[in-house]
Symmetry: C2
Subunit: 305 residues, 2 copies
C-alpha cells in the first residue's frame, strides 16, 4: 500500500509538472492593445492561466481592459502587475522594450519567463536578454487594421505564424515553454535567430511598408497637379500600408536599419532590370518581368490556402 | 402661316441637331469586355443611341454579348459593325489600336467620330489620328478586378474620371462630342494633352503596378527560404496589382516607357533619401518620411469623399 501511495504521489507531481508547462498560474500582459488584449482573451477562453493581469500606462485603460474582459485586473503599478507572474508578455512598441525590461527587472518572480511581441528582434533581444536571463523573443504575425483593446479577438492568433527567436544565451526550457504557449493559442511557431528573423521581415513586412510610403510621397508629394485626381483604387490598395503610425514605423526602422537597406538593395536590382528593359524597349523582357511576378504571387497565394 | 411653318421647321432642325450632339443613331463598340460591355449597358439604359453594335473577335462572344444585353447586335465583320455608326469606341488592348484603326478606316461613315479607352495615349493617339481624322483619345479610369462582359455594369463609369486627350490636329466638334458622350454616362472629364496624360498615369497607375511586381519578385523570387511563410495580409494587399495580365502590361510599358522611367527616377529620389536616413540612423528624418506619407495619403482619401 505504501509503495502504491508513493507511486501515486510521484505521478501527481509529474502531472502537476506537465500542467505547469502549458498552464501558468499568472500571466501578465505589459501593454494591453489589440494584440495584448487578444492574447488575454485567448488565454482566458482556453483556460491557460489561473489569472491574467495587465500593466497599462493610462488610468482610463484600466476600465477599458476590464470592460473588454481581456484581463482579470489591470494596474498602473509595474510591481503589482508582475508580482508572482510566471509568464510576462511585453506587448508594447519596439522602441519601449529596453526601458520596460529595466523597470520590471527588480519585481520579477524567480523563474519568471518573459517574452514579447515586437516586430523587430535582434536589437530588442540583445537589449532585453542582457537584463532578463529568462527572456525569449517572439513575434506573432497577427494584426488588423483596427487597433486598440476594444477590437481584441480571441481568435486573432489562430493559424497565425509566430516567430520565436532564441539565442545561444537563451534558457532552453524557457524557449520550449514560450513555443508551447503560442501553440496553445492556436499559432504555428517558427524558431529562427533574431538576425535571420530581421532579415526576413525586412523583406516581407518592412520593405512593403517603406515602399508604400515612398510611392505616396512620390505620387502625391510633387509640385505637379492633377495626380491626386488620377489616383484610383489600385493606388489606394497598394499604398494602404503607408497609413501606419509614424512613430511606430520610425522605431521599427531604427531597430532594423541594416536589414531594410539590404532589402532595398535587392529591390534595386529588380528596378534596375526593369529600367533597362524600358530604356531599350525590350518587349520580351518586360513580359517576363510581369509574368514571373504574377506567377510568384499566385503560387504564394495557393500555398496559403 | 407659312412663316410659322418655317419657324417650326427651323426649331425642329435645331432640336435634331441638339439631340444628335448627345445622342448617336448608332454606336459601335470595338471589343466588348468589361469596359466595352459596361459602356454598352449604360448607353442603352440612358437611351444615348438608337442602336448599339459590337465588333468581336470570337464566334462565342456574339452570344455572350447579346445574352448580357450590352449590345443590340454583335458581329465578327468590321464593315458590318461600323457601317453607319456615328461613334465608334475602341475598347481593345493598347497594343491592338493601330492595326484596328487601319482595318476599320475604309468602312467608316462620313463624319464618324472615333475614340478609345486605352490607358496610354501619346503613342496610340499619334498612330490612330494619322489614319482617322475624327479620332479623339479617351481614357476612362474605371475598372474592376472582375473582367469580361459577364461582369459589365451600367454604373461602372458613374463618377469615374475620364481623360480626353485632343491634339492640335483634333477636330474641335469631335472633341466636344466625345466629352459630352462620357459626361452623359455620368463620368467627369479632364482634358489634357496625350503627353501630359501619359506622364500622370505613369506615376498614378503604371508606377504602382511595376512596383508591386518588383516587390513580389524581390521577396518571393530569391533563393532564400521562409519568406513566403512570413508574408501576410499587408504584403498581399500591396502586391495585388502584380496580378495583372502580363501581355497587357507589357503593351502598356512598351507604349509609355519614357514616362515610366521618369516616374522611376522620382521614386528613386524617395528611396535614396530613405536609404540615407537608415544608414545614418536619423530618427527624425525617418519619422518625417513616414509621417508625411501618411498625411499625404489621408489628405488624398479625404479629397475623394
Amino acid at each position: 500500500l505504501a509503495s502504491d501511495r508513493s507511486h501515486w504521489a510521484l505521478n501527481y507531481t509529474t502531472l502537476l509538472f506537465i500542467i505547469r508547462v502549458v498552464e501558468f498560474p499568472k500571466i501578465t500582459l505589459v501593454g494591453v492593445g489589440l494584440l495584448g488584449g487578444s492574447i488575454g482573451l485567448a488565454v482566458k477562453r482556453r483556460g491557460l492561466a489561473g489569472y491574467v493581469a495587465g500593466l497599462v500606462r493610462r488610468e482610463e485603460s484600466i476600465a477599458e481592459c476590464t470592460k473588454a474582459g481581456v484581463v482579470d485586473t489591470a494596474t498602473l503599478d509595474p510591481a503589482e502587475a508582475v508580482d508572482d507572474a510566471a509568464l510576462i508578455i511585453l506587448c508594447t512598441q519596439v522602441g519601449q522594450m529596453g526601458e520596460l525590461a529595466e523597470q520590471l527587472k527588480p519585481h520579477l518572480a524567480d523563474g519568471a519567463i518573459v517574452t514579447d511581441v515586437g516586430s523587430v528582434k535582434a536589437n530588442v533581444v540583445a537589449m532585453v536578454e542582457s537584463m532578463l536571463p529568462r527572456f525569449v523573443g517572439s513575434h506573432p504575425l497577427a494584426g488588423s487594421e483596427k487597433t486598440g483593446v476594444a477590437n481584441a479577438r480571441a481568435d486573432l492568433l489562430e493559424d497565425a505564424l509566430c516567430a520565436v527567436t532564441p539565442t545561444e544565451r537563451s534558457d532552453r526550457a524557457a524557449v520550449e515553454s514560450v513555443e508551447k504557449f503560442w501553440q496553445s493559442l492556436g499559432a504555428r511557431t517558427a524558431r529562427l535567430s533574431p538576425e535571420a528573423h530581421d532579415l526576413v521581415v525586412a523583406r516581407t513586412s518592412h520593405l512593403p511598408h517603406v515602399l508604400a510610403t515612398a510611392l505616396v510621397r512620390c505620387v502625391l508629394g510633387g509640385a505637379e497637379n492633377g495626380e491626386a485626381d488620377f489616383c484610383a483604387t489600385g493606388f489606394r490598395d497598394s499604398t494602404r500600408l503607408a497609413d501606419g503610425a509614424a512613430p511606430m514605423w520610425r522605431d521599427i526602422a531604427m531597430a532594423n536599419p541594416k536589414a531594410i537597406v539590404a532589402a532595398l538593395d535587392d529591390l534595386q536590382e529588380e528596378l534596375d532590370g526593369l529600367r533597362t528593359a524600358l530604356e531599350v524597349e525590350d518587349a520580351e523582357a518586360l513580359e517576363q518581368f510581369f509574368d514571373e511576378g504574377r506567377r510568384l504571387r499566385s503560387g504564394w497565394l495557393k500555398g496559403r490556402e
